[in-house]
């Protein structure tokens, strides 16, 4: 039994990473209705930029991270404000296809600019595992878990209790009417793309030390992030965080007790089961379509 819980705890670090990636997806989806398939590639570019800031500009890690977040927000804001805005009245499917195109384009450009070989960036915290209540956990995992919970709570408070959050919830419910009520919808949607890209950027920065930084690094994370978002109800921020941790823990347990080769297969078996029981995910609200 002790082993079991050790494996659970071992999955939380990756769970936090999936949670950040899922938060980025869900935030953008909530306000714009678009599933941004390019989010992983955009996040990888953020991390490659961080790598350049560390290795070429010689910035300290914390400063480089802050700057990378600013750049992430610019990339996200640009993507919506310049690229998506032009087709915002087209069918959602058209917009999603554009993000698929962006995924391929950005991965290609990143390869040209930074090369294809894996690069390394340091973990935010290094050090040997510490003993917490007889369980071993690395300082870096502790950092990831704390950051995930903290950012998740902050987002929740902003969304539920502030006027900005109310405006975003109104946009999520009905963008046209929100605009009619005088809410500057374009500003908020662009803002959520900026923030969403920063959040998935955090995921990429956190995962790069384990996976090796290269242009297609996030492709493998994206599948787990989608899984986390779906389990959480694809629309709920809390759901994205809880879903991320659930997927992280579940895949660690599958790797430990079954086989690493079956991780994805079994994860999706679990998702299918969840969706059969709760079609709107664990935290989802029944979708109300306005046709």
């Amino acid at each position: 039994m002790h082993n079991f819980f050790q494996f659970v705890i071992g999955g939380l670090g990756f769970g936090g990473i999936y949670a950040f990636a899922a938060l980025g997806l869900v935030l953008i989806f909530k306000t714009s209705g678009v599933v941004n398939f390019a989010f992983g590639a955009m996040a990888t570019v953020v991390t490659l930029t961080l790598w350049s800031l560390l290795n070429h500009a010689g910035l300290p890690f914390a400063a480089a991270w802050v700057l990378a977040m600013v750049i992430a927000m610019l990339i996200g804001g640009f993507t919506n404000g310049v690229l998506m805005r032009r087709i915002e009245r087209s069918a959602v499917l058209v917009q999603i296809v554009l993000t698929l195109g962006l995924l391929i384009l950005i991965e290609g450009l990143a390869g040209v600019l930074w090369g294809y070989g894996p690069k390394s960036i340091p973990q935010p915290l290094s050090g040997n595992p510490v003993n917490v209540a007889s369980f071993l956990i690395t300082p870096n995992d502790l950092f990831i878990i704390g950051l995930t919970v903290g950012v998740g709570l902050l987002l929740f408070v902003v969304f539920e209790w502030t006027r900005v959050g109310l405006a975003m919830r109104a946009i999520a419910a009905d963008r046209e009417v929100a605009s009619l009520m005088g809410i500057r919808t374009n500003l908020y949607v662009t803002g959520s793309w900026a923030l969403g890209t920063a959040l998935s950027g955090i995921a990429a920065i956190l995962v790069a030390p384990s996976l090796g930084l290269e242009p297609t690094m996030m492709d493998q994370v994206a599948v787990f992030a989608f899984a986390a978002a779906i389990v959480g109800g694809f629309g709920s921020l809390i759901g994205a965080v809880v879903g991320g941790f659930l997927i992280g823990v579940a895949s660690n347990l599958i790797a430990a007790y079954v086989s690493t080769n079956l991780q994805l297969t079994l994860i999706f078996a679990v998702i299918v089961a969840v969706l059969y029981v709760r079609p709107d995910g664990l935290f989802g609200r029944q979708a109300v379509s306005r046709q």
């Binding site: 902003v158 502030t162 006027r163 900005v164 405006a167 919830r169 109104a170 009905d174 046209e176 609200r285």
Partner: protein
């Protein structure tokens, strides 16, 4: 003061509005009546900038409305409710009203995020206004309910409340009585009559329930096939032979006069 001059709107070959002149003074309840398809909602959609008329002008006080975009109309004091109710379904009744107050004295994004005093004061004012609206419409007990849970009639009230929370000078009401039991029409009419005094806003009301319109409005314009066919006090318009023709088809007007008021003339 709202003024439409020679407004025409057509979709393909269909004329929705035909050279319409319309004036609404401040501080009164005016009404547009007409059968379904007479062009009433199209008029609101023009004022709201949903539809672009092919010709004509729309002036509100000194503002040329046709130069605005739809999200700017509200800043000039014009807000509306919707025929089919367009509430934010997942939000509570109270939050729906608060969204209506969003555009008033907007503090900056950062001011608001960090809850500086200015934002807090704004929040208090918005809340106070929303509370007042709840009380006025007698729906305070619904405040924590999610909009999607309410029956259609209550949602119509919330929709009207959200439009009131925006602090309008001109309130456009699109069929406020639709979906409400007839027994409540009189109390709804009474509420609407109070709006100019209680909220310092004029009202432009659309309905095909003649009973509601006659009771709520002091100035009535009747439309048929996009054109104005009569204008005046409720009594004048009701007894106008062209209005009776438009509603009931060309028949012996005198015979229909009594039946018409009773039936409420559902279009």
């Amino acid at each position: 003061m709202l003024g439409l001059r020679g407004v025409s709107l057509s979709f393909g070959g269909v004329k929705a509005i035909d050279n319409l002149d319309l004036d609404l003074s401040d501080g009164i309840v005016g009404a547009l009546i007409g059968a379904n398809g007479a062009g009433k909602t199209s008029v609101l959609n023009v004022i709201n900038r949903f539809y672009e008329p092919q010709s004509g002008s729309v002036q509100y006080d000194d503002v040329d409305i046709l130069r605005l975009r739809s999200h700017q109309v509200i800043k000039h004091g014009i807000s509306r409710s919707f025929q089919n109710v367009a509430l934010f379904n997942q939000l509570t009744v109270f939050d729906n009203l608060l969204v209506g107050a969003d555009h008033i004295s907007r503090p900056g994004l950062l001011t608001n995020l960090f809850r500086l005093p200015k934002a807090r004061r704004h929040g208090r004012e918005a809340r106070k206004r929303a509370e007042r609206v709840l009380e006025f419409l007698d729906i305070s007990h619904l405040r924590a309910r999610r909009a999607s849970e309410l029956p259609f009639g209550e949602r119509k009230l919330v929709d009207m409340g959200r439009a009131l929370t925006t602090d309008p000078k001109l309130l456009l009401l699109d069929e406020p009585a639709a979906g409400m039991p007839e027994a409540r029409h009189e109390s709804l009419a009474k509420l609407i009559r109070q709006i100019p005094d209680e909220w310092e806003a004029s009202v432009l009301l659309i309905d095909h329930s003649m009973a509601l319109v006659l009771s709520a409005a002091s100035h009535v314009v009747a439309m048929d096939f996009g054109a104005k066919i009569a204008e005046g006090s409720p009594d004048e318009v009701r007894s106008d032979p062209r209005v009776i023709d438009a509603y009931l088809g060309p028949q012996d007007a005198a015979q229909q006069d009594g039946a018409q008021a009773e039936a409420g003339l559902e279009g």
